[in-house]
């Protein structure tokens, strides 16, 4: 490795194509499988998706084979019409707004509660590993099972949450059938299943902060808040920056919770961009072109988000 780098330095001034090849061919060969698979499995469908999004393809005019009969495609190129329709529609703005609220609230609660429990767990005490095990449990259950569990717990008629409310003398709430409570329900479910990952990641980050820093700060008379603000927060930043980015992407694209808990209902009130695009493509008359355009709009939003985020990190001295 060192030899490689030293050779690289010496060769740098006169680096031609051949030099580059002889120096880097093994790195390229090693990355080739992933690059090829990504280009074929992601790049090609992506290109096709971009093309479809510029047409008026639906289930009705898509080419298909029924028995021996081959029906050719009859969809046409319509330019940017799909995008214009999406970006000017009230549905898009409404769904975007809710998706942003959903993502921000969920990620804030994930990180807040995750950091809180991580701080509690990051100190010597009895039963620490027991608490840890219990708190991790929601992450261990597959997300689709969790969505079903919550659908049962929040069932209006015989869900246990309502049963408890009634036993305590309150009226039951139709959790999944009221637009506002349905939103609360999907957020509650997603927060429940997302906190453990944040907790474990942040706990790992906390344990990597050298203890001497806290001892030195204490000797210098720093208050607990000052220690948190000036040692814990900066010490966590490498881990927290990553998990916030990951968490944002995961939540933004969180399909199973919404799809299985409320199916986007009632009346589309919990529909995020991803589930909306999916239902366009696979429910009713399948609108392939519209769905592809939605997908690309969503991807564009995410790429902008990640780029802004990465450049912010790079200013703080991240590696790439």
């Amino acid at each position: 490795m060192t030899a490689d780098v030293v050779a690289g330095r010496r060769a740098a001034p006169r680096s031609g194509a051949r030099r580059l090849l002889s120096r880097h061919w093994y790195a390229w060969a090693m990355t080739a499988p992933v690059v090829i698979v990504t280009l074929v499995l992601v790049g090609y469908p992506l290109a096709r998706g971009v093309y479809l999004s510029l047409t008026d393809a639906t289930e009705a005019n898509m080419g298909r084979t029924i028995g021996m009969n081959v029906i050719p495609s009859t969809y046409e190129f319509v330019g940017l019409r799909n995008y214009a329709e999406i970006l000017t529609s009230a549905t898009f703005l409404g769904r975007l707004l809710w998706t942003v609220v959903w993502t921000v609230v969920c990620v804030a609660l994930h990180v807040g509660l995750g950091l809180g429990t991580a701080l509690l767990l990051n100190r010597p005490m009895r039963f620490r590993s027991v608490y840890r095990m219990l708190l991790v449990l929601p992450w261990a259950v597959p997300a689709f099972v969790s969505a079903f569990i919550w659908r049962y717990l929040l069932n209006g008629e015989f869900g246990v949450v309502n049963a408890m409310l009634r036993a305590a003398g309150f009226a039951g709430i139709s959790w999944l059938d009221d637009p506002l409570w349905a939103k609360v329900s999907v957020i509650a479910c997603n927060v429940w299943l997302g906190v453990p990952f944040m907790m474990l990641a942040l706990l790992g980050g906390l344990q990597a902060i050298p203890r001497e820093l806290y001892e030195a700060a204490e000797v210098d008379g720093a208050s607990p808040w000052q220690r948190f603000r000036h040692i814990t927060v900066p010490g966590l930043s490498p881990v927290s920056s990553t998990v916030v980015l990951l968490g944002t992407i995961w939540t933004f694209n969180q399909f199973p919770v919404i799809f299985l808990l409320t199916r986007g209902g009632p009346a589309g009130s919990t529909e995020i961009l991803v589930t909306y695009a999916y239902r366009q493509a696979f429910e009713g008359i399948r609108n392939y072109s519209g769905s592809a355009a939605w997908g690309l709009v969503i991807l564009a939003l995410l790429v902008v988000l990640a780029a802004v985020y990465r450049s912010a990190l790079r200013r703080q001295g991240e590696e790439w």
Binding site: M30, T31, Y44, L52, L135, L137, V145, A281, F282
Partner: protein, 321 residues
């Protein structure tokens, strides 16, 4: 560190990587082996809590644990109740306990077929994903080469592809190949996300393997491939296993592709099959809860065993720490 000197100052980058990698391993190790013990020994003398604060700490943690465990516990309890009790708003934990729901799930539904389907698809995804991505994880961990940043970006961006963007083109493609309602179509769809993800995770794992091992191999005359295959892979087996397990879980719990691609009920995966129990018109909560328990218990057991490594893999891939 700016973009331009990325390649030329490669030695700095690698040096830093080696030390931080070492720090992570040492910081993680005592905790990994004996949670609670090492910090108590090291910090016990320094921190003293009054009984009141200690009680508050434990009460908070107990409350959090109850919130975290209750839904799962209630699921298990519900699965043991007969149907007539489930459909009343009862808050009693035990009522006429019975295994009838389990018997019905295993005997009268296609649960076992769906479980088999899920296992086939998930195993294929995991094995192929890891085989394809291992060398890439190593390369981006060790080498700074022209295209490095593009590869990293590609790995990051493909991970954030919303399901909505690829599903239609892949569906049309698979329909053209006659693969709809066939397992390969699902495996291919899952590979689009697991391959970049595995590469990303394995980079994190390889980062924690000291670079001095590579150097020793190179001094002894191994090629980069030889170093990777003979020295690094044996050391990185836990990392490979975790990446495989994570891909397995991703495929196991995936809903959107499986719902769209698998049209016959002999080809459903568990995620699709379970939603048949609670359709628009009827809701077989007994079947749903019993099958959920059957799925969740083995998944949770394995998961709890490896979760420590999962977190390290997920976060280390993207950061220096």
């Amino acid at each position: 560190m700016t973009t331009g000197d990325q390649v030329t100052t490669g030695d700095e980058v690698t040096g830093e990587r080696a030390t931080t990698g070492g720090r992570v391993t040492t910081a993680g190790a005592p905790h990994g082996e004996a949670p609670g013990k090492a910090p108590r020994g090291a910090r016990g003398g320094r921190e003293y809590r009054s009984p009141a604060r200690s009680a508050a700490l434990h009460l908070t943690l107990i409350a959090a644990s109850v919130v975290s465990v209750f839904p799962v516990a209630w699921l298990v309890l519900t699965s043991l109740k007969p149907r007539t009790v489930i459909e009343t708003a009862s808050v009693r934990p035990f009522e006429q306990p019975t295994l009838a729901n389990y018997a019905q799930v295993l005997g009268e539904t296609r649960f076992l077929t769906w479980a088999g389907n899920s296992i086939i698809v998930s195993l294929a995804t995991a094995v192929i994903g890891v085989l394809l991505s291992a060398t890439t994880g190593y390369a981006v961990s060790r080498f700074r080469f022209p295209g490095f940043r593009s590869v990293m970006w590609m790995l990051l961006i493909t991970q954030m592809f919303p399901v909505a963007i690829l599903i239609v083109p892949i569906y049309n493609l698979m329909a053209g190949l006659g693969l709809i309602n066939q397992f390969p179509s699902l495996v291919i769809a899952y590979l689009t996300s697991t391959v970049p993800f595995c590469a990303w995770m394995m980079k994190g794992y390889f980062d924690t393997v000291p670079v001095s091992i590579d150097e020793a191999g190179r001094v002894d005359g191994l090629t980069p491939f030889g170093t990777f295959w003979r020295l690094i892979v044996p050391l990185a087996k836990p990392g490979l296993a975790v990446a495989a397990f994570y891909s397995f879980l991703t495929a196991w719990a995936e809903v959107a592709y499986a719902t769209a691609f698998m049209t016959g009920d002999d080809k459903y995966t568990l995620a699709v099959g379970l939603s048949q129990f609670v359709g628009q018109h009827k809701a077989e909560w007994g079947l749903l809860t019993a099958s959920s328990v059957l799925i969740a218990i083995p998944a949770a057991a394995v998961f709890l065993l490896v979760q420590r490594h999962l977190v390290t893999g997920l976060t280390a891939g993207a950061t220096k720490a």
